[in-house]
């Protein structure tokens, strides 16, 4: 009995309804509602009504290559699906849950669509929509006043990880401010500093060809990095051994051969003990070490007292396992790594801790070789240069300069900058231009960030939704999301996949009056008489960039990605490393010159009081901190966060699974539900980042779960100023009056 011949079907009725516009009206009514349907790709059966647009994801920093499947024109244009671009080696032809969920940005009721002017107090959520002309005039006027009354450095510029952030930096330079920060001093600054000071550059990791991986704290099967996450699974399936050290049992720990629940803050003790075993038992490639490294004997002397027994006392990991770990690593070398990790905003000596990571890697002789750390091949795109002006009445340096010895000039330290703003020392900073980043949601000590914002004369935020930071601003400017704009070309390093060049092509038009930040800073520059810094269009910049390689333009048009395919290993070719000694510095000449410990010295973490816990944070494959909030598709899988707590610790506190609890640190109090699990140390508690938003609106995120920013205390790394989050201690109690 064939079912295909019946014509009187529901589908036929719907089609006729659409023809009369009924369905269209119904769809419009629904589109702004909370449960607006995601466009249904299955409804479009005509292959001709379906177009491909090359772009790159922006749901996290990875920027995986994407092919958008699109249908329709103009305001009816709809994205049916975001698919991976199989031709991009770096993204391994995949697209994660968040990448797929990008379509939910398009019809989201939380999208900003018009410039807004604050009418009540900061954070009072009273807004008046204004025209772009008024918004830009007010912003330019405020910036002029701040420059005149204080100095050009009186304006702070903070731009997130975005392909258009370079225009915010250019604008800041043209305006004349040195005070530029990003999210990096809340994240990866320490590991970058440490590896740069050891190897002269920040390396990629070749997990694809690695045989033995020790991963401390990193969680590659949930905190996705491409190609690392895909390559790690392939390596494990091939027989590579993965050993995970983490206070909690993450999905990466689940896939590992061994999970050691290391005491938080003791990684360096473990690593120094590894060095001792490798050196004492002569488990290293003597010839390679002697010709490539500097300071072997100093290291040997330094780790003489770092015995496995000593490390056991510190870490809680049995000495026999530490010895075995060293031997297994060395046996697999050079196809062995201590994974450098990325987020290293953990302790006040995080740079020195990561130096420990770097030094063990150096002893494994894995640099610039398959299965080890990779020197990055240089891939440069042509640019439109510009000359930064000089203002004699400017202060001498960044407002956070001089507080730590190894500050990155282009990054600074958000935590130190905030302190400087609040104290007014060494000079006043009174204005803030924020693009695509949310310090209220991710910087430690949210109350302090709020105080900082309240102390400023003027704040303008450019964003796609009302983040907590935009919520506290004076003017909010609506930006198109990544699917709604063209972008300049950009280079991504891909480790063993090699580098690639991608760009973004606008897939659908932006809603309302959204304008990309390029247009915003260009217009502001014009009003501030620094328009010469932006005397080009985005299209002209792209054309200039497309001249960088033969075939770049046509390959991008046909494939959506260009892979220059340079050599990936053996890049050093005997050339000196970019360090003072010209070698890999086990012993850091630079640190010695600056009066810092040239070899990493272990500092035990502060003891955890009996009634307290170490608070650690992380995420899942469906979360990108606060950026992925308010996404209807992701909310099904990551709708809120819970407090992970060991059953024994919970029992002592009378807390049952699912009970509401109150978590208190010295800077804040949050409430959320407890999740009892043996997959965490009894002295540690954990929550996902990205929840507990303050900003209210039609979206899903307001008030859901607890905010890590409200709880974390603002310590910072003594060398580079990276935030140090895991020094925070919290108490946990069953919530009073809770069900």
């Amino acid at each position: 009995m064939s079912a295909k011949h019946h014509r009187l079907s529901r589908r036929a009725f719907l089609k006729s309804a659409a023809a009369t516009g009924i369905a269209a009206v119904a769809a419009e009514v629904h589109a702004r509602g909370k449960d607006a349907p995601i466009p249904d790709a299955s409804e479009v059966t005509d292959p001709k009504a379906y177009e491909n647009v090359f772009t790159a994801c922006d749901m996290c920093f990875n920027r995986c290559a994407v092919i958008a499947r699109v249908n329709g024109e103009g305001q009816d244009r709809k994205i049916l699906k975001l698919d991976p671009n199989p031709k991009c080696s770096k993204s391994r032809g995949m697209l994660c849950a968040r990448g797929n969920a990008g379509v939910a940005l398009i019809n989201s009721p939380d999208r900003l669509t018009r410039p807004l002017l604050r009418t009540g107090p900061r954070g009072g959520n009273l807004w008046r929509p204004i025209s772009w002309e008024e918004a830009l005039d007010r912003t330019a006027q405020a910036m002029r006043e701040i420059g005149a009354r204080y100095s050009r450095c009186g304006m702070l510029f903070t731009a997130g990880a975005d392909t258009q952030s370079r225009f915010v930096h250019r604008f800041a330079e043209a305006y004349g401010s040195f005070n530029i920060t990003s999210h990096e001093s809340l994240c990866l600054l320490s590991v970058n500093r440490a590896f740069m000071d050891t190897f002269g550059e920040v390396p990629q990791v070749d997990l694809l060809h690695c045989d033995h991986i020790v991963m401390l704290g990193a969680n590659r099967f949930e905190s996705l990095v491409m190609p690392d996450s895909a390559d790690l699974m392939q390596a494990v399936r091939r027989g590579a051994k993965l050993v995970v050290l983490d206070p909690r049992c993450t999905k990466t720990a689940e896939a590992a051969a061994e999970w050691h629940a290391i005491r938080p803050g003791t990684d360096l003790a473990f690593l120094l003990a590894l060095c001792r075993v490798i050196l004492e038992e002569d488990l290293y490639d003597r010839a390679w070490i002697e010709s490539n490294t500097h300071g072997l004997e100093a290291l040997r002397a330094h780790v003489a007292s770092c015995t496995p027994a000593w490390a056991e006392q510190e870490t809680g990991i049995k000495a026999a396992h530490i010895v075995r770990a060293a031997r297994e690593l060395a046996a697999a070398a050079p196809r062995a790594v201590v994974y450098p990790g990325r987020r290293s905003s953990d302790y006040e000596d995080s740079t020195q801790i990561r130096r420990g990571f770097a030094v063990v890697n150096a002893l494994l002789a894995n640099f610039d070789r398959p299965g080890g750390l990779m020197s990055t091949p240089a891939v440069k795109l042509r640019d439109i240069p510009f000359e930064a002006p000089w203002f004699d009445d400017n202060p001498a340096d960044r407002v956070d300069a001089g507080r730590v010895p190894l500050l990155f000039n282009d990054e600074g330290s958000f935590v130190l900058t905030r302190d400087a703003v609040l104290s007014g020392q060494p000079y006043p900073v009174k204005g803030w231009f924020i693009y695509k980043t949310n310090p209220m949601g991710t910087a430690p000590d949210r109350e302090k960030t709020a105080a900082m914002m309240r102390s400023l004369d003027f704040i303008v935020s450019v964003d796609i939704m009302m983040s907590d930071t935009a919520f506290m601003s004076d003017i909010v400017l609506p930006a198109p999301c990544y699917l709604e704009r063209d972008d300049p070309l950009f280079v991504l390093q891909g480790g063993p996949a090699g580098p690639c060049i991608l760009t973004r092509n606008r897939v659908v038009p932006p809603p309302g009056e959204c304008r990309p930040v390029f247009d915003v800073v260009k217009a502001l520059a014009g009003k501030l008489d620094i328009g010469n810094a932006f005397d080009f269009t985005l299209h002209e910049l792209r054309e200039r960039q497309l001249e960088s390689f033969p075939g770049l333009k046509t390959t991008l048009e046909e494939d959506g990605v260009f892979e220059p395919s340079p050599a990936l290993y053996g890049l050093k070719k005997g050339r000196p490393y970019k360090t003072p000694s010209g070698r890999i510095e086990l012993y850091s000449t630079l640190y010695q010159q600056k009066g810092l410990d040239p070899l990493p010295v272990y500092t035990p973490p502060a003891a955890v009081p009996a009634d307290s816990f170490v608070l650690v944070a992380g995420r899942t494959a469906c979360i990108t901190q606060t950026q992925s909030q308010n996404n209807r598709l992701l909310a099904e899988f990551a709708g809120t966060n819970t407090l992970w707590i060991h059953p024994a610790a919970a029992a002592r506190l009378g807390i049952g699974n699912g009970d509401e609890v109150t978590v208190r640190s010295s800077v804040g109090t949050e409430h959320l539900r407890a999740e009892l699990t043996k997959g965490i140390r009894p002295d540690t508690v954990y929550m996902h980042s990205g929840f507990g938003a303050l900003a209210s609106g039609p979206g899903l995120a307001a008030g859901t779960g607890a905010s890590i920013a409200a709880l974390f205390e603002s310590a910072y790394d003594a060398l580079c100023g990276n935030a140090a989050l895991h020094t925070t201690r919290v108490t946990v109690q069953r919530r009073e009056g809770a069900a």
């Binding site: 064939s2 079912a3 295909k4 019946h6 009187l8 079907s9 529901r10 589908r11 449960d35 349907p37 995601i38 249904d40 790709a41 299955s42 409804e43 479009v44 059966t45 292959p47 379906y50 699906k81 975001l82 698919d83 991976p84 391994r92 032809g93 995949m94 697209l95 994660c96 849950a97 990448g99 797929n100 969920a101 099967f221 949930e222 996705l224 996450s229 895909a230 699974m233 392939q234 399936r237 091939r238 027989g239 999905k251 720990a253 689940e254 590992a256 051969a257 061994e258 999970w259 050691h260 990991i317 049995k318 396992h321 494959a621 469906c622 598709l633 099904e636 899988f637 699990t677 043996k678």
Partner: protein
């Protein structure tokens, strides 16, 4: 009612070969499917099952956790309980690829198929109010694209295609990657019922014994059980009886033209048959009137 047992064993039958050991429960396949197929919030055409033995087994100072993830979806069964349960034929199989579809125009929303499926692979679509299920992304395949879950997977745990080709492709890829070879394909089936799934797992997977025996819904059981058979038998018998009556009447007419079978069609205004007159003139004998019928009475 269709019988699912009639599937020809064609080697072009489409299938999915999954290496569950690669699954990291990232939910990419769930979101990808949802977007590609317009699945409403809170519902899903596919799933990821978990087997977590717990962390009690602390061996020698460290833990070897063995949480297993199992991505799955409609098994496109060779012997499909949903096909058997569908009263309208809305659920049907395309012979060229062996994929089972729902014709939403024919579906009356009875819910039989949802009950019948031992895998829980079907659901009532919250907006359309008809049955919904995985069809290996038929609209995408029509455009030369892979099913959404296959395409998007971070660890490339899924291979799709004509089942034997998909198996060979998976085995080849594993060999190139240095992964353990494909030594067998595992079926997840209910006890005592070979559904013949076309979504197969490489080497091993867990959990294994979760599908229940596919109990057909009550109306289906009635209609296909003894009461149903009796009903059909009775219907058949009635039909036969009517046919027999018809044949007998037909034969009578042929043997006896102008018989009483024509009389009752021509009553005049007084209600009397035309051959009757009010003065009681003699009527023809139809042979059907009772012999003892009184004058003027119709039988």
């Amino acid at each position: 009612m269709n019988s699912g047992k009639s599937l020809p064993e064609t080697r072009s039958v489409s299938g999915m070969v999954i290496d569950a050991s690669r699954c990291i429960d990232c939910k990419a396949c769930l979101v990808s499917c949802k977007v590609a197929n317009g699945v409403p919030a809170g519902q899903s055409r596919n799933w990821i099952k978990t087997e977590n033995p717990g962390l009690d087994a602390l061996t020698s100072g460290f833990v070897k956790p063995r949480v297993r993830y199992q991505p799955g979806g409609c098994m496109q069964c060779a012997d499909a309980p949903c096909l058997n349960a569908c009263p309208t034929g809305a659920t049907y199989r395309t012979p060229e690829d062996g994929v089972i579809h729902v014709d939403k125009g024919l579906c009356i929303g009875c819910g039989n198929c949802i009950q019948a499926c031992p895998y829980g692979a079907r659901f009532r679509h919250a907006r359309q109010n008809v049955a919904d299920k995985c069809d290996f992304c038929a609209p995408r395949r029509a455009r030369g694209l892979m099913p959404a879950c296959v395409d998007t997977c971070i660890t490339k745990a899924r291979t799709f295609g004509p089942l034997d080709a998909a198996t060979r492709a998976a085995a080849k890829r594993f060999a190139e990657e240095g992964a353990p070879p494909v030594t067998k394909l595992v079926r997840i089936e209910p006890p005592a019922y070979e559904t013949g799934p076309k979504l197969l797992y490489v080497n091993d997977t867990a959990p294994r014994n979760w599908p229940a025996y596919p109990e057909q819904p009550l109306p289906v059981r009635i209609m296909t059980g003894p009461p149903g058979r009796m009903l059909f038998a009775a219907s058949g018998a009635s039909l036969f009886a009517v046919l027999l009556m018809g044949i007998t009447q037909f034969r009578e007419r042929r043997m006896h033209p102008h018989s009483a079978s024509e009389q009752h069609t021509d009553r005049n205004a007084s209600g009397l048959c035309p051959e009757q007159s009010e003065d009681g003139a003699e009527r023809r004998d139809s042979g059907l009137r009772p012999k003892t019928g009184r004058k003027g009475e119709t039988p």
